[in-house]
Amino acid sequence: MNHNLQPINITHEVDIAIATSEARVLAEAVGFKQAEQYMIATAVSELARNIFHYAKEGKITIKIIEKGTQKGIEIIAQDNGPGIEDIDKAMTDHFSTGDGLGSGLPGVKRLMDEFEISSDSRQGTKVIARKLL
């Protein structure tokens, strides 16, 4: 059984729920405990929601990774949207250009073990987040 998933296109709101459920299934397959499966699924929900809200469309790729003997999950959230003007601000709790809580991105960073973000107005936004077993 191949547990690596095809990229999930986020174009409709329903895709947020699809990506979230798939993340959970994959996290369980890798062997994450229930609380960690839930953290990974929550991170995917936040990233997919950001794509849907701010970029309108994009994609989420969820992969099983191996670092030495350690297994884990990698989430890549990518879009060609307007980009984030000030990443430092966006990574601060309670900063939102919408009417959100503003803790999605900093929350994903806390929920996962590794976090990378790059963004500009021409290429859109890319977030890579990993959690290891």
């Binding site: 729920a17 609380a35 953290m39 936040e46 999605g104 929350g107």
Partner: protein
Amino acid sequence: MKGKNYLSKVVMNIIQGCLVVPIHGELYDESVLQIQRDVLEKIKNTGIKKVIIDLSGANVIDSFLGQVISDTVKMASMLGATTVLTGFKPEVVVSLIDLDFDFGDIQTAITLEDGFHKLQSRLTDEEIEDADDETTEAIEELEEPEEEEDES
């Protein structure tokens, strides 16, 4: 709204004098906000004083859903109704803390039965504090094993 219309009405029941609102798996912004409006309207129209929002069927509670739910609890309280959120498994609480979610004085319970119990036994302030302690204990239990992993 873009895409197909996935709006579905939540079936709310009044059980033992409590308005029970079950939140199910796949939720969309618009349907969550619709549930909020429906709950508030029901409270206004029936004068009901006790509400249970059962989140056990929710896929995940992310910052968006968390915010709408907590707003609903605050608005319900302005209308004179006390709300207990049920279906709060410990892992949900842990993730919400990572999302810097402020519980404020929102009451939670793990099972629907506990939720009923909390509402039916007319909460005193002390009981509310006890309930908070329970949640804190559940969180501490969950966080401890993680700390051990960090050291290894």
